[in-house]
Structures are given as structure tokens and as C-alpha cells.
Amino acid sequence: MADILQLLVYGVVLGSILTLGAIGVSLIYGILRFAHFAHGDMMTVGAYAALVAVAAAGLPVYAALPLAMAAAAAVAVAIDRIVYRPLRRTSPMILLISSFGMALVLRSAVQLVWGPANRVYVPGIRVPYQVADVRIGVDHLVIVAGAVVLVIALHLFLRRTRTGKAMRAMADNAELARISGVDTERVVLWTWVIGGALAAAAGVFLALDTRLHPTVGWHMLLPVFAAAILGGIGKPYGAIAGGLTIGVAQELSTAVIAPVYKPAVAFAVIVVVLIVRPRGLLGGRG
């Protein structure tokens, strides 16, 4: 029983990370109609941006987080302006392939600058809290609390602000949004800012939970997409349900199968859910 609870804790932590990545994937799909394959590597970029702030400026990780989010948002906007925007009038398939190319570019750039070795933000071991027989690390609390705060902030942005409503309107009916006076390019800009910033948060949390490595985000791409599809792609709220489901399912699976098969669990969950509910949990775009 304690084992299961322990895995549940790990699952919620992983789920929080996946959620932050999946929201971006879902938003970008909803607004721009293409699967952003460089999103995992955007997470990596964010994680390393925080490393710069921690290592060079001596900041604690929580203070480095907003800087990393800003840096990744800037990188995302720059990539959009230079690579994706000129291609936007072609087909979604071309954008998808170009984002695959960007994924390779980002990963190689990270490796070129910081090398292929494993890194950590702060060396040393921190003793986790012990609640009954379940161990909960300080970092785990930071990750889950951070994800909750960011998700609430995003919720308020989407529901209360004019730009947030324009984003929802554009994901709902892009042409009608334009007819209503929404400037598409402005909404696209905000989509990248939010997608990039949340990817950076996911990357920093992931590195906090494991370690930094140039492929750390790339390996998360499959479960992140699984979470986005599970929740109904194009629906940021679905990404939360999808992220937690995939995270918990992956960790719980290690009770019965070898941990190396964790990514396969994400696949299995998508297959099952798409058979039962082809448009995802919250009924996204088919």
C-alpha cells in the first residue's frame, strides 16, 4: 500500500510536469493547427536557461525560474518569427516537419554550449519528508505547487483578460475571431510566449526532479503529446487531466513492469482512450 502511495506521489509530480508541457502543445495546436515537435526541446532550453542563472548568478532555483520562463518565451517567439511564420501559409505538415528540425537545432545548440554531461542545479542530497511510509522530497512539493500556481494563473488569463478570451475565441473559430476584430498575429505571439514559458517551467521542474541533460526534454515529448491528445488536443484544460492521467499511469505501471517500459504506458493509454473516446477526455478537435 505504501508502495502504491509512493508511486502515486511520483505520478502526481510527473503529471504536473507533463501538464505544463501539454498545455503549450495544446494551445499551439488550437491556435496554429500544427503539432509542435520542438516542444520537448523548448523544455530543455528552459531548464538550461535556469542553470545559467543558478550557476552564473548564484540565484536559488525558484528565483531562476521566472528568468528561464522569460528566456524560453523569447526563444519561442524568435523561432516563430524566423522559421514558422514564413511557413504558416503553406500546410500544417510543413510546419510540423520544420518544428522537428527546430527540435534537432535546439538540442544540438544546448549540447554545443553546455556539453553532453549530466548536470544538476544544486549538488548534494536533500532529505525528503517522511509522511507515514511515504517519502516526499522538498523538490516534489515545489514542483507540484509551482504547477498549480501556473495553471491557476493561466486559467485567470484565459477567462478574465481580453487577450486570453481572444485566444480561446481563435482556438474555437479562427475566422470568426478575425471577423470580430482579433489581430491574429498578436494572439499567435501570446501563444508562443505562454507555450514557451510553461515549457521552461516544465523543463526546470523536470531537471529538478531528475537531472539536466541535452535530451531531457526530448524524452518527454511522447508523454507530453500523449497528455495533450488524451485531454483533447486544442483544449488547454484537457491537458491538465491528460497530464495527470499519463503521469500517474506511467509511475504506477512500474509496480508491475520494468521502468524502462514507462514510455510504452503513455502509448497504451492513448490507444485505449482514443478507442473509447476518439476526441479525448474533453472532446478536442478530431
Partner: protein
């Protein structure tokens, strides 16, 4: 008061033109109805005016200013409203949010305009927190019209506002359109329900193969035997 002029407009999607030199005019406060067979380019004309498709030749002017080539959000900013035929609401958002999006460019007028729309469609006031996707076709059409009225447009483009509505709802919709027009809003409307539409029109335009073929007053078109046999079902 806004005057719209469409002069010899050619345009379409990609390579082939659907509009082949169409011209028409809507004077301030006028109701102009466009009728014609399927594929004549009626909806395409609306989309061209609103900057949703390319115009390769000709001019579209609003009060003398050429608007061909402007983006839809810029056309909206000039005081034009547009209700497309399909997908004309934000289905995943509430009635209130749909109307709010209508006033996107003039958020400071949201409350006042929403009151005016609720005046015209009292049923929407009761349902302001309902998601539009869960409403009936007639109610969705009210939301669509309400959204377009939120900007306080001087000219309204309506693409088949009564398509798919039961006859009593269609009659009610024409009545609402008349009420909107009586406040000085010019109307350019595409309609399959040609008889009823021409009855409230100052002028009618018959469009065929991407061009305007006849333009006359509503009653004159209704009385024209050729028009009657071709487009009014005998």
C-alpha cells in the same frame, strides 16, 4: 452613415477566380439583397469584402476609401459587421462571451451594446451564461447576429441569415433585420428566401457566374418574369 461600393471585383481562392467582375453599391441605410443560383459567388463576394479572400482586380470602397487588401480585423474596425452563413458563433464560449468578442475592438462599449442586443433578443439575456454549442439553431442565429451588432456597425453583411430556420423563425429574423435597419444600419444580405428578402429590400442584385446580372428595386425584381422563373421558383 456608410456607403459601400464594389467595382468590377475579380477574386477567389488560389488560382481560379470565382468573382468575375462583380459590381454593386449599398447606399447609407439601404437594404440590398443579393440572390442567385448556387455557386454564383454570393458568399465569396461577402468574404472578399471582409478581406478573407484575395481581390485580384477591381475596387471595394467604404465611404470612398479602398479597403481591398485590408485584413478582416481592419475591415471590422471600419464599422462593418459580418455574419457568415456557417460557423458564425464561438460554440465553446458562452452567449455573453460571444457578445464580448463582438465588441473586441471597442471593449469600453461592451455593457451598453450588450444591453442593446438583449433589447433586440430578450431570449439571449436569459441565456447569457449558456454555452452557445448547446443551443438551438434559431438561438445560435440570434447570437451570431448579436455578436455582429456589438460593434455598432454602420453596415452589416449577412450571409443567408435564415438558412435552416423554420418559416416562423425566418419571418422573425427578417423582422429583426428590419428593426436593425430602421436604426440606420445599412444591410447587404445574401438570401435563398428570395421573395421575403426582396420584400424588405431597397434594391436587389441578381448574381450569376461571379457577376451582377440584374440590379433593380426589390418589387421590380419580384415582378420580372425572367427573375421569377429562374430564382424565385416560378
Amino acid at each position: 452613415m456608410t456607403a459601400l461600393r464594389v467595382e468590377d471585383v475579380h477574386g477567389g481562392y488560389g488560382g481560379t477566380d470565382i468573382l468575375n467582375g462583380v459590381s454593386l453599391a449599398v447606399d447609407p441605410g439601404e437594404v440590398v439583397v443579393v440572390i442567385g443560383p448556387n455557386g454564383a459567388g454570393k458568399s465569396t463576394l461577402m468574404r472578399a469584402i471582409f478581406g478573407l479572400i484575395g481581390v485580384h482586380r477591381g475596387r471595394i470602397t467604404v465611404d470612398g476609401r479602398n479597403i481591398a487588401g485590408l485584413r478582416p480585423d481592419q475591415v471590422s474596425g471600419l464599422g462593418l459587421g459580418y455574419v457568415p452563413q456557417d460557423d458564425n458563433t464561438f460554440a465553446g464560449m458562452t452567449v455573453g462571451e460571444n457578445l464580448e468578442m463582438g465588441a473586441f475592438l471597442r471593449p469600453e462599449h461592451t455593457a451598453r451594446r450588450m444591453a442593446a442586443v438583449f433589447d433586440l433578443f430578450p431570449r439571449l439575456a436569459e441565456r447569457s451564461h449558456q454555452r452557445v454549442g448547446t443551443m438551438s439553431g434559431g438561438e445560435r442565429q440570434m447570437v451570431a447576429l448579436g455578436r455582429a451588432l456589438m460593434t455598432e456597425p454602420k453596415l452589416l453583411l449577412l450571409d443567408e441569415p435564415t438558412a435552416g430556420l423554420a418559416p416562423d423563425l425566418a419571418a422573425e429574423t427578417f423582422e429583426r433585420i428590419r428593426a436593425v435597419n430602421s436604426q440606420g444600419v445599412g444591410i447587404l444580405m445574401v438570401e435563398q428566401n428570395a421573395r421575403q428578402a426582396l420584400a424588405i429590400a431597397d434594391r436587389g442584385v441578381v448574381m450569376v457566374m461571379g457577376r451582377d446580372r440584374h440590379t433593380d428595386t426589390g418589387p421590380a425584381l419580384l415582378a420580372d418574369p425572367e427573375v421569377a422563373s429562374l430564382f424565385l421558383g416560378g
